[in-house]
Amino acid sequence: MVHESHAASEGSYLTNPKGWKSWLFTVDHKRIGIMYLLFIVISFALGGFFALALRLQLLSPVKFLFTAKQYNQLFTLHGAIMVFLFIVPSIPASLGNFMLPLMLGAKDVAFPKLNLASFYIYVFGAIFCVFSMISGAADTGWTFYTPYSTTTDTSVISMTLGAFILGFSSILTGVNFIATIHKMRAKGMNWFRMPLFAWSLYATAIIQVLATPVLAITLLLLILERTMGVGIFDSKLGGDPVLFQHFFWFYSHPAVYIMILPAMGVMSELVTTFCRKNVFGYTTMAYSSIAIAIISFLVWGHHLFVSGQSDNAAAIFSILTFLVGIPSAIKVFNWLATMYGGSINLKTPFLYFLSFIVLFCVGGFTGIMLGALSLDVYFHGTYFVVAHFHYVMMGGTVMAFIGGLHYWWPKMFGKMYSEFWGRVACFFIFAGFNMVFFTQFILGAKGMPRRYFNYLDQFQSLHAFSTVGTWVLGLGFLIMAFYLIDSLINGPPAPANPWGGMTLEWQTQSPPIMHNFESAPVVDHDPYDYKRMDG
């Protein structure tokens, strides 16, 4: 399906058309994906920088580098940037934007202009977050719990307004993806011939569209309460601070699945390509994504097990929490089964696939512990929770994001990167990550509460070890930055299909032409039908 001669004359989307204006006003999903990628990577670097800084303070049990207030601002900025600016948009807005139309055999998303609008709304929201940073950064934690957030004198409003605006970007991307998947699939590609990454983006989009408005309303109410003293959450005015937690987690728990579902989609693509084999249990994989999306709406109360909600409510939320874990477990088993009888090509993206499996399992098992009511009462608000969600979010989503980035890098930029340095960086990231966060499981189990500026002397050696881990982790990312930038300048040109992938994005040149395909692809087989190709 590659039409070399014609493609060469049209040139890649990167250089045709030329000029900075052609980027800023582009409606090409690929260019929008690249611009998102740039901002997302910058946000990750910024959030990571704050993490390094706050871990540095935690080398000492007493005041060392920062004041208590600065420390509180640091962990708030770290959390808010990582959640709202990095991890929520990470995979869908960058890799998803770029790959979804290609994988469906389409020219673009359903609403290209809306797509550009989402991007600029994202930038606009990011400006508010940055403004909050330089104008007396919020010190509420990324969760903005009332009544603390309505009484602190830091710039809570600009940060929440930033998150409010970013929410619209997320909703519009979700709407766009749903329409694209319904309407833009190539001829012959029925729902069950769709790549699993597209399925996961569909499930994600459902949550984005349905849950994000609740966050928007909640943050708006918070802003109204701060500015006008409306008594929604303030008990002095007849409000209820716990109501805020219900509202907040009604979005923010499904949001966890906005973060992990696309990552699971990437995992399915990685395992099938690098094992050169169809995904085991394709239908189960597709349906389990949808199941996760639906059940994820009904588990928010597990963040409130110690807030004084009724025992019956706690029981229901606990049982539903276990239920949402089952489809995730099924996915892990299906990925493993896909490897059976495959032809495994152990390249850098697949190393991140393996890292995901190992770290996500740890995150999942500790999630089971936290879902159990009696144990949650103990672990709630300790480092155990911090370690757990980093294993899921960083060990899961970030690993899949990096894996996907390496997998699609040749397609996106038309350049290959250094396989050797890719492996070295992966080793440092995997080792550093476990040093940082496994230590925090022990800290939490020993009773160390989170968000503590000072801590008891007895915890110092564990804290110090965790901090040293952040340096190893940081080194891994530094190496990655170097070899990826180097690949853009000096990397050898990438072939159209360097890994032998089956899905449609590999059927066009690297990097793709502006309209993706020379002629509209026609699909007459399952997405991962290697049997057909390999005989």
């Binding site: 208590a68 207030k69 509180n72 010190d139 509420t140 719990y145 009544p147 603390y148 008990s235 409000g239 601070p241 094992c275 084999k277 394709y282 239908t283 189960t284 004084g308 025992d311 029981a315 606990s318 049982i319 276990f322 239920l323 477990a329 099924i330 088993f333 493993l336 089964a337 490897m339 059976y340 009888g341 495959g342 032809s343 393996l354 499996i357 190992v358 399992c361 089971i368 512990m369 879902g371 159990a372 009696s374 144990l375 009462v377 608000g381 300790t382 189990a445 020993k446 009773g447 160390m448 509460p449 989170r450 503590y452 500026f453 000072n454 008891l456 007895q458 915890f459 290697y530 049997k531």
Partner: protein, 322 residues
């Protein structure tokens, strides 16, 4: 009472994972943890072993360039790894729920103590006995204790690691927590809901004593000691949570530093100035918002009624020594 209270270490006592329990419910909670941990380790080792085995057996070589199996699914296998985790999860749910219920249902004969959380200290009141304390909760061993808790400002959370219990302390309603200590000792109390600048200094001590010691303590109250005043003051500085806002090394914090404050004039928010003498200190402890030092917020809680005369004198002596 005069002796320094040494709090049991969370790291040094107990197992690799948990601090030493002080009540029988901890065995059940820890037991559930170990049950899940054991199951997780078995599964995790199984998954990792399968990964490594597959990576080796099915690695891409010249002899194995393409997949040898084309299996698309197996209904039996998929049912097995759906149903077995489901059953395990339901069992874990039941275990957790059962213990959660007994943790949240106090027996009728429990001794009731009121807990007030505020930025950034814990205050305890024994309503029947008419005793108030700061930063120190004293209870008799082997008797169920029921805490009725409320906050004066933002949300706090009362956390007793050795008892594996925790409950949020809210400004608009009363939450309850109960426990029965089965051994004497001094245990750590944390605030585990983020509440601002001195959140990590919002600590307190739970002293579990024998019934006789408890009666003695109630009679004597918290101020009865013959400890020398400066030493008592030094102890109260931490115990009463003065240290969360006032430094003794000259660095400004939430409140003015105590170093070199005594005997000097300070400027107040209303533009006047005042000499820091015994009278000013006593007034500032009991009615902190009467004369607030310039540059600071009027946020200090009033200690009127919770500190005895001798304790105030002790703090004055301690400040003189700085």
């Amino acid at each position: 009472m005069a002796k320094e209270v040494v709090i049991e270490s969370l790291m040094k006592s107990g197992s690799f994972w948990f601090p030493e329990g002080a009540t029988s419910i901890t065995n059940r909670v820890d037991g559930l943890f170990y049950f899940i941990l054991a199951g997780s380790i078995i599964l995790f080792v199984g998954i990792c072993a399968t990964l490594v085995y597959f990576l080796y057996k099915y690695r891409r070589t010249e002899a194995n360039p393409v997949a040898t199996s084309n299996i698309t699914h197996s209904t039996i296998l998929e049912l097995v790894w759906t149903i077995i985790p489901l059953i395990l999860c339901l069992f874990i749910f039941w275990w957790g729920y059962k213990d959660y219920l007994s943790m949240s249902t106090p027996p009728g004969n429990a001794l009731e103590i009121r807990v007030i959380g505020k930025k950034w200290l814990w205050q305890f009141e024994y309503p029947k006995e008419g005793v108030k304390t700061l930063g120190e909760l004293v209870v008799p061993v082997n008797r169920p204790i029921r805490l009725v808790m409320g906050s004066e400002d933002v949300i706090h959370s009362f956390f007793l690691p050795n008892f594996r219990i925790k409950r949020d302390v809210l400004p608009n309603r009363y939450t309850r927590l109960w426990f029965e200590a089965e051994r004497t000792g001094n245990f750590q109390i944390f605030c585990s809901e983020y509440c601002g600048d001195a959140h990590s200094a919002m600590l307190a001590t739970l002293r579990v004593v024998t019934e006789a010691e408890y009666k003695e303590w109630l009679k004597g109250g918290s101020g009865a000691s013959d400890e020398p005043l400066p030493e008592l003051g030094k102890r109260l500085y931490t115990k009463n949570a003065c240290n969360t806002c006032h430094s003794i090394d000259g660095s400004p914090s939430v409140g003015p530093t105590w170093k070199g404050m005594y005997g000097h004039n300070v400027s107040l928010v209303d533009g006047t100035s005042v000499l820091v003498d015994d009278a000013y200190i006593k007034e500032s402890i009991e009615k902190p918002n009467a004369k607030v030092v310039k540059g600071f917020q009027p946020i200090m809680p009033a200690y009127a009624g919770v500190m005895r005369e001798r304790e105030i004198l002790a703090l004055i002596e301690y400040m003189k020594s700085l």
